[in-house]
């Protein structure tokens, strides 16, 4: 957590050491040199201290607003439901519960009778986690391959139709088409990809191609120097080999960015998945299974919070360990 989200770091203005050195320096310098000298460090006047305290106060209030629901979710996933309900109307609801109960709700998720498949005896919660991991892995691998190859073709190879296709890709990003999921479901039904046996294919395959990722890859490839590829070609390497041996290692950053964004999109997908897997608890990804946990009667809020926490952990890990690529992706999307 120590690394900053934004990489560019400026020298801290409030450094004590600099404050001691600075006044001497500014006195020695005169006239025009003064202007170009290092920014003079301000003194800690009462007014500035008050402003700082005020700033910290508001930043902390905002931090509480943004954090307390998440904190409550985690803390209450580690209580028994009776304890949770009993503490609701006191501030103890924000404090951790009895240490013996910490993982009871988590265990309950996997052993709860309604969540155990009567035929196989397998846990549906475990199955949902596995499904989510599997769907994400396939989607990420497919998205990377399909879109990067297409983008490479569009950025480096001249062939009939390349100009038209590039324009179409850009148009598809610019115009917000309310394709929603209805026509996709129609097409999948017509292709016979929503039958019980083919449902998984029907769920995964529409997400593999994305005009936006093609555009992202293409922008990256266009900016890469051509010399290495030309050298590889002179050495007799084919385009496919060049792509895998030279292009991919040189564009790890963009591959990582797209992989992370795809992973998060696939892990968090809800509307499409809940339609396709509505009647099939065995194939549900985690986000859809949350509905099952939430529907349990009598209501077990603690178990719901445990399920929510579990389904957030992978995304949190990705954000914490892959910040660099996320910031790159975010600033890329900020470039218009």
């Amino acid at each position: 957590m120590s690394a900053t989200l934004i990489m560019k770091k400026r020298t801290p203005v409030l450094d004590v050491v600099e404050q001691q050195v600075d006044p001497v320096k500014t006195e020695e310098l005169g006239g025009a040199e003064k202007i170009f000298a290092a920014k003079p460090k301000k003194k800690w006047t009462a007014k500035r201290i008050a402003a700082r305290v005020c700033l910290y106060f508001w930043m902390s209030v905002l931090a509480v607003i943004f954090l307390f629901p998440v904190w409550w979710m985690i803390v209450n996933s580690m209580k028994s439901n009776t304890e949770l309900v009993a503490q609701l109307s006191s501030m103890r609801t924000f404090l951790p519960g009895n240490i013996k109960e910490w993982f009871a709700s988590y265990a309950n998720l996997f052993t709860f009778t309604a969540f155990v498949n009567p035929e196989t005896g397998g846990s549906l919660m475990g199955r949902a986690i596995l499904n989510s991991i599997l769907y994400c892995a396939i989607t990420v691998a497919g998205v990377l391959l399909v879109n990067s190859l297409a983008a490479y073709a569009l950025s480096r190879l001249k062939f009939p139709g390349s100009g038209v296709i590039t324009t179409v890709v850009l148009l598809l990003i610019l115009v917000p088409v309310e394709t929603s999921i209805v026509p996709q479901i129609v097409i999948l039904t017509k292709l016979g990809l929503l039958l019980p046996a083919t449902r998984v294919i029907g769920y995964l395959i529409p997400g593999l191609v994305s005009p936006f990722y093609i555009f992202m890859f293409r922008s990256y490839f266009v900016g890469m120097p051509k010399e290495l590829e030309e050298a590889a070609e002179i050495d007799g390497a084919g385009k496919l080999r060049t792509f895998f041996v030279i292009i991919i290692p040189l564009s790890k950053a963009i591959f990582a960015t797209v992989a992370i964004f795809t992973f998060m999109g696939a892990w968090n997908d809800y509307v499409f998945a809940q339609y396709i897997f509505a009647s099939n608890a065995e194939m549900m990804p985690l986000q859809v299974f949350l509905q099952q946990v939430n529907n349990v009667q009598p209501k077990d809020t603690s178990m719901v919070m445990a399920a929510l926490t579990i389904s957030t952990v992978p995304i949190a890990i990705v954000y914490i360990f892959c910040q660099r690529y996320i910031v790159e992706g975010v600033s890329f999307s900020g470039l218009k």
Binding site: A63, L88, A153, G161, L174, P176, T312, L335
Partner: protein, 335 residues
């Protein structure tokens, strides 16, 4: 190298070779530098084959799952297509469009969506910019605050919705519990027709603001500090610096963020779908949290009226595209 050229051949051979190459000689055929002309442009044969081969998976998938849905949507909009029996779809001219504009439920959904957009977008944009400006100061503990504001972004829309649904619940909800311990008499139904849409606004802003904050922050970090120094030497105060340096510098970022946020907000579906499964109908049966995307979904997939659903989607796409393109144009002119 042998296996390699074989792979290339495979990649290229899926597609038919351009026609006019049959006259070429054997020696020339093996040459990788053979060219051909099409519509007055010169192409290298090998590049064309490999290019189309590389593009093929994306092209095929794109035609089926990106282009075809648009075509399907366009063509079904003029029919009475029914999801469970698509083959009997009959052309019914513009009947669907007549229904769209006289459908009170459509106007209700459009009204609800616009209410959400009008409140949530400015609120979220303002909060995101405010947070970014706060964090742009060099303050000790900056990293902690940045993570704190960003934290809700890590929750998926489904998780956010289920979490807040439980926080705002009428029975055993945190907010009702705390408010009643402070003296409120009866629990309030925050997800009912009175507060439902506002609850969704708050939840959405809470979840999303951190993301736009990050975009603004990277925009702010790109401003040359020398600009501010020069301005303060010229006697500009903080507010003047903000108006004349900060705002113009982040205008491109703002315009991008605004357009993406607007389109995203107009497509609101997950939060109301989870938090208010019955669309928070009021005493008159008006569904107060029904949004356009959800209405299109309901018509097409719950009631299986694909034809009518496509017609609404088409009208809505034209509506959204007009807004997006107009905004882009206006923002570009300003730059």
């Amino acid at each position: 190298m042998l296996t390699d050229s074989k792979q290339v051949q495979e990649a290229g051979s899926i597609l038919p070779a351009p026609a006019e190459n049959s006259t070429a000689g054997e020696r020339k055929r093996k040459s990788p530098n053979r060219h051909f002309r099409l519509f007055g442009k010169d192409y290298r044969l090998i590049d064309s084959l490999i290019g189309l081969g590389f593009l093929a998976p994306a092209l095929i998938l794109g035609i089926i799952f990106v282009i075809a849905p648009i075509v399907v949507s366009l063509s079904y909009a003029f029919t009475d297509a029914y999801l469970l029996n698509l083959s009997t779809a009959k052309w019914n001219n513009f009947a669907n469009f007549g229904t769209v504009f006289t459908d009170p439920k459509m106007w209700n959904a459009l009204g609800n969506t616009c209410l959400f957009v009008v409140i949530a977008v400015p609120l979220q944009l303002g909060i995101a910019l405010g947070l970014a400006l706060l964090l742009n100061k060099d303050v000790k503990g900056n990293t902690f605050y940045r993570w704190a504001y960003f934290c809700p972004v890590m929750l998926s829309l489904a998780v956010t919705s289920f979490l807040w649904m439980n926080l705002l619940n009428e029975q055993e909800g945190l907010f009702n519990g705390l408010l009643m311990s402070m003296g409120m008499k009866d629990p309030k139904n925050f997800l009912g027709s009175d507060y439902g849409m506002y609850a969704i606004v708050i939840v959405s802003v809470w979840q999303g603001a951190g993301y736009q904050m990050l975009i603004f922050l990277s925009g702010l970090k790109n401003i040359e500090p020398a600009l501010y120094e020069a301005a303060s030497l010229d006697g500009a105060n903080k507010w003047q610096q903000f108006v004349h340096i900060t705002l113009p510098a982040i205008l491109p970022t703002t315009s991008f963020v605004l357009v993406t946020m607007l389109i995203g907000a107009f497509r609101l579906i997950t939060q109301p779908m989870i938090m208010t499964p019955q669309a928070a109908a009021d005493v008159n049966g008006r569904e107060t949290t029904m949004t356009m995307s959800w209405y299109i979904y309901t018509q097409g997939l719950t009631y299986s009226e694909v034809g009518y659903s496509s017609a609404i989607a088409l009208v809505y796409t034209v509506f959204l595209a007009t807004i997006a393109l107009t905004l882009r144009k206006v923002m570009d002119v300003k730059d």
